[in-house]
Subunit: 324 residues, 2 copies
């Protein structure tokens, strides 16, 4: 049986066990700080679920599973510098609490630490995992660069956007599942199918995020509804609206996007009205469901027992149905 | 026979062969740019010499040797961001030519690429090398953090300084030689002795750098003599002078260090006079020679033919005797 709570507990316990140096403290305190900020630990849980699909021995793989959590937190640390983000999980970001040089350098150490954590992978699977990890790591960096590029570009196509979110966020989910599968003895074809499941689910999750920013219940959402709208963030919704808007709607949309002084609430309301008039919610939901559907098709084709798959399906559905 | 020129040529050729992605170009052009800035390629040459000491087949190891060159350039890229350095090898630094986000992110990719290059290490040596590489990479980051810390500290001891330069620059030279030795089939003891040689030589090189900044022939030096003095850089010379100066000399030294407005030439001249009065040149040379002596003692105890050792001795002596 796979038990998400039990998995989470052993992940949290192992996070406390990660061997960090002590000197200089400026290098190691930020690593401890960001690892202790919490989060849902989705990626190592996906490693363990992926593992559970192919072996009952999943409990022994918490240590290698942490590699993806360390890597993920490394990307958050460096992305926060690049995005000049002041807050992460309700706390000051590392570059705010210390400074950006310390954030840069402790991030570098975290990338090495992620690699070091892979040393816990069993010898016979080691090279396969290591090579896939290199590729995944590079793709995540490519995604971040594309995301930064997109801020300066006027027009992005739907395909370019999907490719960016695939690289920036989805491939690490795919790799996490594949990682678990490979070290669970899955054959390459099944490991690939599970990777495809993860990537497609990941793309769907990001589209869900884009939707939640606009169409969520403020009481449940936790952060400000419409944050992406206020910042002109090129989400799937905006890209789609720019693609579909014509005539007066197009003029109104452009006018809001170029306005420098505006009332935030008024802008959010106006853009939502434009989205509604263009059917953007339905279009985005339909695209999101397309990816969820593709994902579950990949999962269907993996020849493992339905009871095993239930663990992954249930974990995924919780994430699909989240309201924040 | 080991042929440095031949080694250098194959290193340069392999650098051109490193597989880099193409998209997004912002991520890969900076990597190509910094790798093509040149430099003496000391670290991969040390891998190949370390290898040659234990096998005649050193020519086949250029690919794995590049891992240390990619890693070294990764550290330069990120250090230049942290130090806000405008120029590297006479050309604009990556963060100047592009921007600091691009420099940060392409540096991250380079660290992954360094790891990826280690995949060329023969299976039987792979884990040994990988684990030593993790450690070396972390130590280099620790050294950089200590170096940054020292800028803000008034007093550093000689021991703290030596430890910082050991981590920041010497361990990578030690690792490079050890790397070559291990993949050449050296036993662990001899590999360790070669590592010790590299680390001690590396510390000596840095002390030589500190000396050259002050006591070199401007015509041969290439950069401004006294640059460290103007910037109050805590070199071994300054640390030693602060330790030895008393009475009026101490007051003069402190006065120059705290002056905000000063004539550069005048400051350099005055500080050199203080150094001379305190015998700092001889003290530094003596410390440097202590490390060179230790290094050659380690080398002596490795049971390999004198002809083989000659390659390493001659390469090292060229670096010891350099005047810039």
């Amino acid at each position: 049986m796979f038990d998400t709570q039990q998995a989470l507990q052993s992940i949290e316990k192992e996070i406390q066990n990660i061997a960090l140096g002590t000197h200089p403290t400026e290098l190691y305190e930020p690593i401890r700080y960001i690892m202790d900020l919490g989060g849902k630990r989705i990626r190592p849980i996906l490693v363990l679920i992926g593992n559970y699909l192919f072996t009952d021995d999943w409990q022994k793989n918490t240590k290698p599973a942490l590699a993806v959590e360390i890597f993920h937190n490394f990307t958050l640390l460096h992305d926060d510098i690049m995005d000049n983000a002041p807050i992460r999980r309700g706390k000051p970001t590392v570059h705010e609490k210390w400074n950006s040089n310390i954030a840069l350098l402790s991030g570098d150490v975290m990338l090495v630490k992620a690699y070091q954590q892979l040393d816990f992978v069993e010898e016979k699977y080691f090279h396969t995992i290591l090579r896939k990890f290199h590729q995944c790591a590079i793709e995540v960096c490519e995604g971040q660069q594309l995301d930064m590029n997109f801020e300066k570009v006027e027009k992005i196509s739907q395909g370019e956007y999907i490719n960016m979110i695939r690289l920036k966020t989805a491939v690490l989910l795919g790799f996490s599942l594949e990682f678990g599968a490979v070290i669970g003895g899955a054959d390459p074809e099944n490991a690939q199918q599970l990777y495809d499941f993860g990537v497609n689910i990941g793309i769907g999750f990001q589209l869900k995020d884009d939707l939640l920013d606009v169409y969520s219940d403020q009481a449940k959402f936790g952060k400000q509804v419409g944050g992406d709208i206020i910042a002109n963030k090129k989400t799937f919704l905006l890209i789609k609206a720019l693609e579909k808007a014509t005539g007066e709607t197009q003029d109104q949309l452009q006018s809001w996007l170029t306005k420098v002084d505006f009332d935030k609430e008024e802008k959010v309301k106006a853009i939502i009205e434009i989205y509604n008039s263009l059917n953007i919610k339905q279009e985005t939901e339909s695209k999101m469901n397309e990816y969820f559907y593709k994902a579950f098709q990949s999962l269907d084709s993996i020849p493992i027992k339905k009871e095993k798959k239930e663990a992954l399906i249930s974990f995924t559905n919780d994430l699909i149905n989240r309201e924040k």
